[in-house]
Symmetry: C2
Subunit: 383 residues, 2 copies
């Protein structure tokens, strides 16, 4: 039996049927009143989801394109930046900044641990000349399932006073409370295929007034990703360059569904899915790659010991049509990752855990007590 | 009655039902074997459509993003480039090159006229020091419906020997014969929402071996649009960054439909649609903005005299649900544009012309002889 795929990877994430059907509507002109009305609603609802009055600009790009826009619009060659690196996407920030000639200081932590905000505090406090132009961080590190302590880090940046804070929220936005305006986050980037329950194709960048000030003097060359052009277009509910009209129409439907659920419910659901998943894995004696205190509500990474990660993924795929993600870079074969962000329900987690138990049984996993995983997940859900 | 929109704009273009249905499939992982098989077929069929053995790289970007990739990967700040400017998209090339610090020499022609290849020849012949690094041209100028004489221009570039030829083929690829390998075109950019019969969301760049050589020493900064990364990924039938999976799956279906029709038939159909449209407009005494000799098979621009362009567009939209494009920049209100590229049939043109006759009648157009437009189109189609 084919075509009953279940996506449990960190992205693309599952897409609700009404969103898929909207996607299949015949494209309309991106220069029509009908489209502007859609874009107007999308712009409005993106601000709601981002908890901000800032511009939330919509780019035709992958998340990495949005990350690039978040750098080149606000910085100049030679600018000193602090970059938090505790996973693949932190490293991507560093590589991206280096490619554009910034002076990058990495503050690293082991993959699977959270970054140490105290190291940032010390560097920022020592910077009395205010040479640090930006602090750049991955909120939810997709490669390891770690949620970095953005709130504390941001407080240190605010004490510094000059540096911008630039955040990769690709797998956190829409899955965890991220009050952009209350915290005063300057640049926050994300992508449609994650918490937004929408297919890939759109990147988002929210920009604070302080970041727009930096934009005025930033000297890196830019054209396609020049956010000033997007800001001007957004004011008229259009896009500067042809957008993926179908994905925008799909996003309109997804945002309506999210509004109907409500922000608090969405975040509570992700907390519950995370806890249920983690408690089930603990009950199955499968070691979690990130500690409870720093766990991302979007992704759980597992580092099994007496059974092979890749074998688990393979049986889950072949026997149950459940797609899990593998480890990246040096973690290839060492961990597997469960995405539980976006359009994911309690039922999906129960299904996942039950299938995982069956998989462990098939692989001859010694310490298996069938049913304990599902029971542990159920305990979380019934609280 | 709503929802019976007919798109006759230069893009997004109409999308066949099987392509829309493919679009609505649930997204799959872009790191799965299933996806790689799709991407492998798409890569193969893109080379067929582009008539090339060069890499045809697939970007998550608008056409303008593909244009930017076509510049920043092959040139360095201060490089001297000749840019043909006879419409909005030629001007966009010039603006883009200037944004990246190139030394831009514009070779302009009036909007609605073709560029003068002789001016390029003279500049190239005079460049005995070989300081011209690239000649940059818009093949089909979407803003005016002019098809520039790329074949002759390219011959002059080849006589120069050093300069790259970089082509915007956004509305020509898939609608007019463009033999990339036979002509030896170095960089050719296009977008999914035009001749490809696919929704917007993907940009394409084909890259010749000579262009890859230039890539080695090109010094403009790049990360998201670094084509070397895309080339490496394409060799493994993957994408470096999350692609719009749904649009790729849709493109797979569209390319299969194009293969079934065959290149010669596709190009002959576009020639026929162009001629039928133009003969009908002539019969209706509506002045064509571009001369027959330089007419694009993708777009026909009309500059009506005794009746308002915007009124025609408005009645066509409101009474017949047919979307036409207006003029851009200084041509706003002066011309309207008919897109007849991609998934457009003889029937669509007959329908368009009949509705246009009705519209002219409604607007009290003096010289109208009802039926002469349709009759003229039919004459072309029955040849």
């Amino acid at each position: 039996m084919d075509n009953k795929q279940m996506l449990m990877i960190p992205g693309p994430t599952p897409v609700p049927e009404p969103v898929l059907l909207a996607l299949a509507r015949h494209p309309i002109s991106h220069r029509s009143d009908e489209y502007s009305a859609i874009m107007g609603e999308v712009n409005h609802n993106l601000k709601w989801l981002h908890q901000t009055e800032n511009d939330v600009l919509v780019l035709t790009a992958s998340g990495t394109g949005a990350m690039e826009a978040g750098i080149i619009n606000f910085l100049s060659p030679g600018d000193r930046v602090l970059v938090g690196c505790n996973g693949k996407f932190g490293e991507r920030w560093a590589d991206l900044c280096a490619a554009f000639g910034l002076e990058v200081e990495k503050i690293t932590a082991q993959w699977g641990k959270s970054i140490d905000t105290e190291q940032f505090r010390a560097k920022l406090a020592a910077d009395t000349d205010k040479t640090i132009k930006a602090v750049i961080i991955t909120h939810s590190e997709t490669s390891t399932g770690v949620l970095n302590d953005l709130e504390t880090l941001n407080r240190h940046v605010k004490e510094h006073g000059k540096a911008l804070i630039i955040v990769d929220a690709v797998t956190s936005l829409g899955s965890v409370h991220l009050p952009i305006d209350r915290w005063g986050l300057d640049v926050v980037v994300s992508g449609s295929q994650k918490g937004y329950m929408t297919p890939p194709g759109l990147g988002f960048v929210s920009v604070s007034p302080k970041a727009w000030e930096a934009y005025q003097t930033a000297k890196l060359p830019r054209f396609y990703l020049d956010l000033g052009v997007y800001k001007k277009a957004a004011a008229n509910n259009i896009n500067p360059f042809t957008p993926p009209v179908n994905v925008v129409v799909a996003l309109q439907v997804a945002l309506r569904m999210m509004q109907a659920e409500g922000l608090d419910s969405i975040f509570a659901r992700h907390q519950r899915l995370m806890k249920a998943t983690r408690e089930a894995l603990k009950a199955l004696s499968l070691p979690l790659f990130a500690a409870d205190e720093v766990a991302s509500p979007a992704i759980t990474a597992v580092a099994p010991i007496s059974v092979e990660s890749e074998q688990i993924r393979s049986v889950m795929q072949q026997r149950f049509n459940i797609a899990l993600a593998g480890g990246q870079d040096h973690l290839k074969g060492k961990i597997f990752r469960i995405g539980h962000l976006g359009f994911v329900s309690d039922r999906d987690i129960l299904c996942l855990i039950a299938a995982l138990e069956a998989t462990l049984q098939e692989l001859g996993y010694e310490s298996l007590v069938p049913g304990v995983g599902v029971a542990a997940a159920l305990r979380v859900m019934s609280h």
